[in-house]
């Protein structure tokens, strides 16, 4: 399937969703536009543009697919980021940062010892920098840091 077709269909769905939401939010009248006015027309414009893109992608030949790059690393990173955010408030900044850095250093094939030490130093240094120096309010874990 041509890539523009895929993304065009996705944005068309977003556009329909926005327009429907706009209607349920109240369009108001032209002299008194309601809260749904802008989302509705924004959705309509996006929808029309998506249709233009979709039609264009069907008429042109599908370009040959490029060499697929290896997406496994980005996937791990995306999962690690989510894990960080979900664990941050329960186990505290220092612990979650240590685990996060450890995982990412290991991802690039650094040795265990090197990764553990760097992650430890990194977690401690960022704690000093953000919590103690810049006075950012970072969440603390059960052990108090």
């Amino acid at each position: 399937m041509p890539r523009d077709l895929v993304s065009g269909l996705f944005w068309l769905a977003v556009a329909i969703f926005a327009a429907v939401q706009g209607i349920s939010l109240e369009l108001g009248s032209l002299s008194r536009p309601g809260p749904g006015f802008f989302p509705f027309w924004g959705g309509v414009v996006l929808g029309l543009l998506s249709v233009v893109l979709i039609v264009g992608s069907l008429r042109r030949e599908a370009p040959r697919s490029r060499i697929r790059p290896d997406s496994s690393k980005p996937l791990v990173v995306v999962a690690a980021l989510l894990g960080y955010l979900l664990l941050l408030e329960s186990i505290g900044f220092v612990a979650v940062t240590f685990l996060f850095l450890l995982l990412l250093f290991r991802l690039e094939q650094r040795g265990w010892a090197f990764s553990a030490v760097s992650a430890g130093v990194g977690a401690f240094a960022s704690y000093v920098l953000f919590q103690l120096w810049l006075k950012t309010q970072l969440p603390t874990g059960p052990l108090g840091f």
């Binding site: 890539r3 523009d4 895929v6 993304s7 944005w11 977003v14 556009a15 926005a18 939401q21 939010l25 109240e26 032209l30 002299s31 008194r32 536009p33 309601g34 809260p35 749904g36 006015f37 802008f38 989302p39 924004g42 959705g43 414009v45 996006l46 543009l49 998506s50 233009v52 893109l53 264009g56 790059p69 290896d70 997406s71 690393k73 980005p74 990173v77 995306v78 980021l81 989510l82 960080y84 955010l85 979900l86 941050l88 408030e89 940062t97 996060f100 850095l101 990412l104 250093f105 690039e108 650094r110 760097s118 990194g122 960022s126 953000f130 810049l134 006075k135 950012t136 309010q137 970072l138």
Partner: protein, 496 residues
């Protein structure tokens, strides 16, 4: 005389020790951000925004602005020594800058980039000094219809300068407008697209969205690219001062680049990247030996580096005179001003002259600091470039996480960043640009309010946009810009 007094009072603000310190920290971090590939000024400023909450508004903006123009200096170092742009606006500098380094003239390239940046940066601040108060007076009379039309023109220009397809750029602008409607509607007070989430009820935060789109997604893309072998030239310790011959060849390109860059910088979306490319094209055309370009022509370094710095100055024009940001960086500065209780726009020069002039004059000082700082520090930056990406990227991600969280001590903002990181990554994969989305998201709420107020004013008649000359003019130009590419295409197909 008014300007003279303004500049004088501005220097009184900018020369206070605390502001000098903030200015120094800003340009220093800016250079660092410019040198390091994969972390742009927009993400960096978003990251550091929370740390300025404790400072006074002037100090905060002075520092954040310093990061922006400082990054323009730093970017050239990486381009010249490693052949990787440290920052998007230094892409063209790779061409001739790296070629010069290969011929053993890295010193001259780095030197002319720094001097060119300084001259252009200073010139653009001079133009800004005279133009901004004048324009602020003109735009003072703008009502909601003028503002609406101007923002339509802004978004049109933005998509006009898009590198990928116009349709896709327009789509991104529409998505951005929709993103801007998330949260509480200012007129009716109702929540839109919030789905009961406390984070979304406050609207999508600019900081997490920018860090997701420009920070996280950039790291994801870099991880995927195969690490190519790069040769890093040992930084020269001597010979940074350009010779008389170098100066002779570079003077005109620097001056042309300054003017070109400043005016392209004003336009929304065009900014530093387009300015550097435009300057390169102009110099190549003006040269009597265009074949030297790409093989180490010093004009090809001097012009674009001047242009991207001048563009950074020009970008302040719409922010300070209209309260409309020209690019993602200005959007964060707009947010920063508002967090500190200031309303950017034509009234700023009247209501907070110390802020208005303090920011402008701090840029003279910042540019001077950069020149003095940069040349001696080049060996240090070069050493930094030897740090492998495998060590660097976990920290970039960590800083983004902390930055997004600390805006409001809210994990929800982190999740917004996470989502937009994935969105940004996919957008790149499917050949979309993130810039129109960001800008439309910022302008969106202003544009919606202006449109709805205009319609309330005219009791529902769109005639209000045709009957006011300035409004009609802006809209007419927008329509022409949208139709022009279409006409050109149909004529081409007709000929074929």
């Amino acid at each position: 005389m008014e300007i003279f007094q303004g500049v004088l009072s501005g220097f009184q603000v900018a020369l206070q020790p605390i502001n000098l310190l903030y200015c120094f920290v800003g340009v220093f971090i800016g250079t660092l951000v410019g040198v390091l590939p994969g972390l742009g000024p927009a993400a960096a400023i978003a990251l550091l925004l929370p740390s300025t909450f404790a400072a006074s508004p002037v100090s905060a903006i002075i520092m954040l602005a310093g990061i922006y123009y400082g990054a323009m200096y730093g970017g050239s170092t990486t381009s010249i020594l490693v052949n990787i742009p440290g920052e998007a606006a230094s892409v063209v500098t790779c061409l001739d800058g790296h070629a010069m380094a290969r011929q053993g003239r890295a010193g001259a390239a780095l030197g002319i980039a720094a001097f060119g940046s300084f001259i252009a940066g200073t010139l653009s601040v001079v133009i800004l000094t005279f133009l901004a108060p004048f324009l602020a007076r003109v735009t003072l009379s703008f009502g909601p219809p003028e503002y609406f039309a101007l923002m339509v023109l802004g978004l049109t220009l933005l998509t006009y300068f898009a590198r990928e397809s116009t349709v896709k750029a327009l789509m991104m602008a529409a998505v951005g407008l929709l993103c801007g409607t998330v949260g509480q509607d200012t007129i009716s007070g109702r929540f839109r697209f919030a789905f009961g989430s406390r984070t979304l009820e406050d609207g999508l935060g600019l900081v997490p969205v920018i860090m997701g789109l420009f920070g996280i997604s950039e790291v994801l893309l870099n991880l995927e690219r195969r690490q190519e072998h790069t040769e890093l030239f040992a930084p020269p310790t001597t010979g940074l001062l350009p010779t008389r011959e170098d100066w002779r060849m570079s003077t005109m390109p620097i001056l042309r680049g300054s003017v070109l860059g400043f005016f392209l910088g004003i336009l929304p979306g065009a900014g530093a990247i387009i300015a550097s490319f435009a300057s390169y094209a102009v110099e190549k055309r003006a040269s009597r030996h265009p074949e030297r370009f790409g093989a180490g022509a010093i004009e090809g370094v001097a012009g674009p580096e001047a242009a991207n710095n001048a563009a950074a100055g020009g970008a302040f024009i719409p922010l300070l005179t209209l309260g409309i940001p020209a690019n993602a960086v200005m959007a964060i500065l707009l947010g920063a001003l508002m967090i500190h209780g200031l309303q950017p726009g034509p009234l700023l020069v009247k209501q907070a002259p110390d802020v208005f002039w303090g920011i402008i004059t701090s840029m003279y000082i910042g540019n001077a600091m950069l020149l003095v700082l940069n040349l001696p520090l080049i060996p240090m930056w070069a050493r930094l470039l030897r740090v492998p990406y495998a060590i660097m990227f976990p920290f970039i991600l960590l800083f983004c996480l902390i930055g997004a969280y600390s805006v409001g001590n809210n994990v929800g903002d982190g999740l917004v960043m996470w989502v937009f990181g994935i969105v940004g990554y996919l957008l790149k994969k499917f050949d979309y640009e993130g810039a129109p989305l960001i800008l439309a998201m910022v302008i969106g709420p202003m544009m919606e309010e202006a449109l709805r107020q205009s319609l309330i004013l005219s009791t529902g008649s769109f005639g209000i946009f045709a009957s006011r000359p300035i409004t009609a003019g802006f809209l007419l130009v927008s329509a022409l810009l949208l139709l022009l590419p279409l006409l050109r295409r149909t004529r081409q197909t007709a000929r074929a």
